[in-house]
Amino acid sequence: MPADTSIDRVMRTEAAPRKRRWWRRKSDIGALDYARRWWMKLFVGAMFAMLYAPIITLMLFSFNDSRRNIVWKGFTFKYYIKAWNNDGLIEAFANSLTIAVISTVLSTIIGAMVALTLWRFRFPGKPAYEGFMALPIVVPEICMGVAMLVFFARIGWPSGMPWPLNLSSITIAHVAFSFPFVAVVVRARMTGFNRELEEAAKDLGASEWQTFRDVILPFMKPGVVAGALLAFTLSLDDFVITFFTSGPDTVTFPVKVYSMVRFSVTPEVNAASTVLVVITVIATFFAMKFQAPVKGSAD
């Protein structure tokens, strides 16, 4: 159609004199497609590279057959074997896992109960109570660490007890800073709960307990699992508070690694760290999977 062509030509000739920068040519990137712009991709890519490069090199060099640890000399498992044969390291690792498991169980139960209380009930002084529950989250780790040190020293908490009681003080401290996190996660999950589901169950004849078991608990579950995994990682990762609570015969993995790092940087530490990183990444993966919102639950 000739008419169309002429309009087309007019538009093109009018567009031509406008400033046309070379990077704008032939682009279908929309005005708000910032993520598709090359400079944005470059910046974000570079930042992610900087975020991951140290950890990935740390992991790669755990397989490096060189003590100098800077030039790639060949692939080896020998530092893993060395770490495995390091009794102190293995004991610390076992301690860390034991503490993490017990502290996770306790903080998940306590945290979920606190979350349910805050979600369900209105009571005098609630904002203050919520602030109180958030204290272990906001207080600097070092302050909480020294508080634990002072507390256990002052009340004369028995040391040198048989396993696993010798880990009790560390475990208590870990529960104290973990369960508020669990409470936050579970409560966040519960805010998405449609109260009409609970009312519907009661309306259909379910008792309080049946309503809790059949409707509230299944909804809560992903939050509880995510909270538990968070508590597990927090406990496994904690250095500062444990550093002040642990004694010479109750060394956890991070405390052990710390003393090794202070001494020297060795591929053995890389190997042990790699194992811990892999465990953490797997736990995080599961946490993410459970935290994903249940489809259709929001409406």
Binding site: F123, V138, S273
Partner: protein, 305 residues
């Protein structure tokens, strides 16, 4: 939500364990430290609570004031660096295609889950004299020198006689880099939450009305995401101020922060009352920062972070 009176039994059973634990294993220890900060050391293992203010007065001595001041500016610089790096990242994630978002977010959060000690340790390998940065620089230096030799300028030694490794570790710069590296997720997440919440039609309206992208960013995006910016700043600044491990491993003797001084009082120096006082000064600073955030977010007029 119902009144606790409707079901007292359930209320007490549910709230008791958490309340008990926090009272006995958090509030009591904290109170002990607080009381001890007014105490005097009378022997190697004995401490008298004399309600003296001596420990607080001692913390205003120049040597400690310098460390407190350094802790503040190191944390502040690191927080600003975090903000400058995290904002574009949060912005890009928020404008990325939906199927990419969870993965990009995961990529930001994942390092946060990895042990702090391991991440700090990984940085040592990067920064130390024979670390990756210096190794790469040396390689570049060698390369540049051989090019100079090739073009016949080798005898002038333009790049110095030999490669000097940069002192990257055991200084304030390393501490700042470490804080930025470790606490970056704390900055990205609140920023992302705010940018994501932002109705993108505000941006379109601004562009439609003739504002440039830069102008739109400064006059629309930044004001509307201010609650996220404030949250992020507080979330990074507070743990940065109290950090112990990062300056301990990356800082060396001249780059100590208040956390290291506290640790020394409780371990090597064995002066618990003074350590307690310093510890509570840090706590007050933390609460001050939190109060500041509460005030700022209230002034933001309903735009809650």
């Amino acid at each position: 939500m119902e009144s606790w009176k409707t079901n007292r039994f359930v209320f007490w059973v549910m709230s008791l364990p958490g309340t008990f634990w926090l009272l006995v294993f958090f509030l009591v220890p904290m109170s002990l430290v607080w009381i001890m900060s007014f105490g005097e050391k009378t022997g190697i293992l004995t401490i008298d609570i004399t309600w003296t203010l001596e420990n607080y007065i001692r913390s205003t001595e120049t040597v400690y004031l310098e460390i407190i001041w350094k802790s503040v500016w190191v944390s502040a610089l690191a927080t600003i660096a975090c903000l400058l790096i995290a904002y574009p990242i949060a912005f890009a994630i928020s404008f990325a295609p939906n199927r990419w978002k969870p993965w990009l977010l995961l990529a930001v959060i994942l390092p946060f889950w990895i042990n702090l000690l391991i991440r700090t340790y990984a940085l040592i390998a990067v920064f130390r004299t024979r670390g990756f940065v210096n190794f790469s620089l040396e390689w570049l230096w060698d390369g540049a020198n051989s090019i100079l030799n090739f073009v016949g300028l080798g005898q002038f030694q333009l790049l110095g006689e030999r490669f000097e490794a940069l002192p990257l570790l055991y200084n304030n710069g390393a501490v700042i880099a470490g804080i930025v590296y470790v606490f970056m997720p704390f900055m990205v997440l609140p920023l992302y939450a705010n940018i994501e919440k932002l109705d993108k039609s505000y941006l379109e309206a601004s562009l439609d009305l003739g504002a440039s992208h830069v102008r739109t960013f400064w006059s629309i995006v930044v004001p509307l995401t201010m609650p996220g910016i404030i949250s992020g700043i507080i979330l990074v600044f507070i743990p940065a101020l109290g950090s112990f491990l990062i300056p301990d491993l990356l800082g060396g003797t001249n780059a100590q922060m208040i956390g290291n001084v506290i640790e020394r009082q409780f371990k090597a120096a064995n002066d618990w009352p003074f350590g307690s006082a310093l510890s509570f000064l840090l706590m007050y600073a933390t609460f001050g920062a939190l109060a500041l955030r509460a005030v700022l977010s209230r002034e933001g007029g309903g735009m809650n972070a």
